[in-house]
């Protein structure tokens, strides 16, 4: 039922979503932490920038990225100067674009979770001889764990369903940027409705499973250490 090309697209999609989720968590945890605890006047503007991809049409994001990362854009030229391969039409480029596109879906739940933890448990930990990193890993993170789960699942599911950005900057290259959503679109355009149906169902099942997993993982107690 699923052709090798379809399976390739599925594998690529999952690989992309996993990579993006992991990188966003690594980037998002310190960012969300800063947003939750800083009193700097940059807090609000930066929070707004983080939220921007929520309201920006994905095609707009893809378009601006294409211009920016292309040979005439600031980043593209910097890359060329450094001898690095250009980002459009590559898996790496898609990872970068997806990270921007899914940024608020990861950072916002983390931000909310850290704010909910508040400063009291951290004050308590400080009086019990825990230094800053100690407090983060042994108090803040375990208490914020449901938020981390939400962030990971939302980031993953959102990237799996991505289309607009991929359309603009992907180039639809098999094995590199031909993700599942592009494949479905291609099938529809070619009038291959049956395949489109099968793949759509696939995507639906993956998304549903992800959300179900999130619900199950969250209902457990906060992580024990």
């Amino acid at each position: 039922m699923l052709t090798p090309a379809d399976l390739e697209a599925l594998g690529l999609t999952l690989r992309l979503a996993a990579t993006v989720t992991l990188l966003l968590l690594l980037l998002g945890l310190p960012l969300a932490w800063w947003l939750a605890h800083t009193r700097s006047r940059w807090r609000r503007p930066i929070a707004a920038v983080v939220a921007l991809p929520l309201v920006l049409p994905p095609t707009v994001l893809g378009f601006y990225l294409l211009m920016l990362l292309g040979p005439d854009g600031a980043v593209g030229r910097a890359f060329a100067a450094l001898g690095l391969a250009a980002l459009p039409f590559t898996f790496k480029g898609l990872v970068v674009a997806s990270m921007l596109y899914s940024l608020p879906f990861v950072v916002q739940p983390l931000h909310n979770a850290f704010e909910a933890v508040g400063s009291r448990p951290l004050d308590v930990a400080a009086t019990l001889r825990a230094g800053p990193l100690d407090r983060f890993f042994n108090v803040a993170l375990p208490l914020a764990w449901p938020g981390v789960i939400t962030a990971a699942v939302l980031g993953f599911a959102h990237t799996v369903g991505e289309f607009g950005v991929v359309l603009m900057i992907g180039g639809n290259i098999p094995g590199q940027t031909r993700v599942l959503s592009m494949r479905i679109y291609d099938h529809v355009q070619a009038g291959e409705y049956h395949q489109a149906n099968v793949l759509s169902l696939c995507l639906l099942v993956v998304s549903f499973a992800a959300l179900l997993a999130m619900s199950l993982l969250r209902s457990r107690e906060p992580a024990r250490d």
């Binding site: 211009m67 292309g70 180039g171 639809n172 291609d186 355009q189 009038g191």
Partner: protein
Amino acid sequence: MMRRLWQGLLILGSAFASVTLAATPEQQITVAAAADLHQALDAVIVAYRQAHPDTRVDVTYGSSGNLLTQIEQGAPFELFFSADSDYPQQLLAHGKAGGTPVPYAFGHLVMWSASIDMKGVQLADLAQPKFGRIAIANPQHAPYGKRAEQALRAAGIWNRVQARLVFGDNIAQTAQFAQSGNAQVGLVAESLVIDTSVKGSFVAVPSSMYQPLKQSFVLTQRGSKNPLAQDFANYVQSAPAKAILQRYGFELPNDTVH
């Protein structure tokens, strides 16, 4: 206060209704056209409207396959200008056409580059690494894409350049990839690059290397009820329109033997 609110809504509602009802399909034609016709068809419409100032022609450009799907699912287009003849034929075969497909032009495939001088370049030369990424339309469903694949195979370099291909969703996006410089060269429609302000150069791909791009249009079922649609279709086949199409690099059905 509530009464004022209701009054306001009523006025707004009737104004809205009158505006929309006023825009009756009486003097309007809705056209779906392949992406490669963008500039050419716009020019034809301008000429048409000089002769028929009261008629509105709304065009939606897109990939032919996509437009076909939309029409089959009930999209309100009256004329369908495809980049090939298969898609209009499919519309007829599925019983959704209001007439028979009529060829209106032959498209040409060219190699276009923003950075490399294409003068004297042969298709087989694209195998050279200096041509980097090659943009073609998606062969799975885009007529120009299918032709590009055929040509590359005919040149014997299809397997070699596989890894460097970049697929545009339609021929317009393919041209955009090449014009933005993200792809070093693109196999695009001549009609899209013949009159562009974007700096670059192009050279034709020999017609013998690919199946002819016989572009046909067809009236939809909806279009068969709008006499203006047929009128416009006739205009496209008339001399002034043909002259415009030729300017954009299209060959005309009567000119060559196919």
